[in-house]
Subunit: 327 residues, 2 copies
DNA sequence: CTAGGTGCAAATAATTTGCAGAGGC
DNA sequence: GCCTCTGCAAATTATTTGCACCTAG
């Protein structure tokens, strides 16, 4: 919540250092929410009235180019600016009555945008989603939503929740798979993976606790990251399929599918973490899930091969041996 | 493609009739794409240089209030305007290089927006989705996309395609279900529904042909309406489930689920049609699908009841009769 | 006759620019 | 000393407004 970065540490993106600019940047980063150029100018003027409006404009422009700030347009006829440091890309709900905005992120929308741009052969650089309407507070009169605080924390919270659900469902999946599997070798693979998921789960839960310590109200804040289907963990569907009865080979295939989704999840979200510790955990897990994936694929190939050999030797008992055609 | 509405026929939304206003509105409606106030002013000036800039601004404002035009903001520091007459709400892909924009619609995004607003207790009135980037033409140099013509036609085309796929998959579903069903009464229900779907299919295909006559290039234009999962028809999944083997009761349940989706589809899209003929077909079908739904539900209840009675009478043969507990 | 509609010019509001001077490297 | 940053004032751009006049109902 604290620990502001020094301007020097931010992507320097060319340009000279200057005390005024640093001052403006620092004041900007100290603010929350979406400031207009004029809002910022007023605040700056309170601290130091020898800074001109033009400099504020120029510095804002510089910040956008340097990736410190993002320019957003709520259709008010002027621009507003928001941090991009510790503030992942997101979408907006904008209340037309009180003109405050609240933020959310949707993996599903991002996935759809990818589909649409692919279909139209369009290279997207930025996606704006703005939902205009009336917020709960303006409609019912009672205070409802917690302030739109540090989305970095909310992002981390929601990504961790999904990750925890995923590891939990993964543990369930592998435990169940180990119980069901006939083949001794396959069983030991599943047992090993269950153990690793248990370990991941511990790490993630510890990290989640750390976050809660940083802000005790964190759990009660509204959802920030919407990700349909991942809420119950990416292995949930697979675990359910197991309970409907499958053979060893099918179990491996389901595991491969889930593990692929899980790897993708950790990679993609790890890259978006601004918090370096969470980022590290996610990227590390992404690597490990990739290894799991490779292990499962190897195991699947081995099983298929052994089954084929077994079948062939059974057959060779009552039929003349054939020269096997390659592959 | 032609047949412009007379200003008099448009939602009059108060205000007096005036030759200048009618002139401006008619010029506006004759244009395609997204005009800025100044673009429109220039065009008007070509025809009649005794119209002032202020009047153009005032008329645009009036058009937005009257629902003839929509104000859109591409972050250029000025607004643009697009028809809303015969032009369903949609989202935008905006090329930063040539600053042209192309349009699309995504049912999936709309569904997600509903989820998000429900979670935040937010009443949405308008959703803006803008994807900024580089279009194919600017990236590769070669002409690619057809002009961004009448989206009403594109909407109708895509909605009809989905509808046709749905009826086709529905026909497949009911035919298959009729073949599988043990119960004679249930079988005749499925046969009847198959017949109705066949009839719907004919109507829709005829309508689709009519559209193609209006614009021979229509089929080659890019997708406008994205609707994941509906592309193969809303019964496709159900039909597949049937082929994996189900009993009579399960078949009815699957039918109920598909039919519910289908009813919702025709209702929702029927309401969005600007073309009155398409609208009528869709809304009529929505009603009929609702009837189908009711029929399936009745049939399901009847089947369950008959099965229960059958079971009870079997049991009563070897066990003493029990007073049935009310349900 | 009268409530709107219209033209013209001036006002506004956000942002940018030209230019001369100040300051970091 | 050079090059960039900065302040100030003037310019630009999109849009709105005040006011006198005009016109349809």
């Amino acid at each position: 919540m604290t620990n502001f970065p020094n301007v020097r540490d931010l992507k320097p993106a060319g340009g000279r250092r200057s005390s005024k600019r640093e001052q403006i940047v620092n004041v900007f980063l100290r603010q929350e929410g979406h400031l207009s150029a004029d809002d910022l100018f007023d605040i700056i003027r309170n601290e130091d009235h020898r800074i001109s409006r033009a400099t504020v404009y120029r510095t804002l422009q510089w910040m956008v180019e340097a990736g410190i700030a993002r320019k957003v347009d709520f259709g008010e006829g002027r621009f507003r600016f928001e941090h991009s440091y510790r503030h992942p890309r997101h979408f907006h709900l904008i209340c037309k009555t009180c003109s405050r905005s609240s933020e959310f992120l949707s993996s599903d929308i991002e996935a759809i945008v990818e589909d649409v741009t692919a279909a139209r052969n369009f290279t997207a650089s930025q996606t704006v989603v703005q939902i205009y309407g009336t917020c709960e507070e303006c409609r019912t009169g009672k205070k409802a939503s917690a302030p739109d605080g540090y989305t970095e924390l909310l992002f981390a919270r929601d990504a961790l929740r999904i990750a925890i659900a995923t590891e939990r469902s993964g543990l369930e999946f592998y435990t169940r798979a180990a119980r069901l599997t006939q083949d001794a070798r396959g069983r030991s693979v599943f047992q090993k993976l269950a153990e690793e998921e248990r370990h991941h789960l511990g790490t993630l839960e510890a990290r989640y606790k750390t976050l809660l310590d940083r802000d005790p109200q964190l759990e009660s804040r509204p959802t920030f990251l919407f990700f349909k289907g991942a809420a119950n963990g990416l292995f949930a569907e697979g675990a359910e399929q197991l309970s409907r009865g499958v053979n060893d080979q099918q179990a491996l295939l389901i595991g491969i599918r889930c593990e692929r989704g899980s790897h993708r999840f950790f990679k993609r979200y790890g890259e978006r973490f601004e918090d370096s510790e969470g980022k590290q955990i996610f990227l590390e897990f992404a690597d490990e899930e990739r290894d799991h994936l490779a292990l499962l694929i190897r195991e699947y190939r081995s099983l298929v091969k052994r089954q084929r050999t077994a079948k062939r030797s059974t057959r060779s008992a009552d039929a003349p041996r054939r020269v096997s055609s390659a592959r």
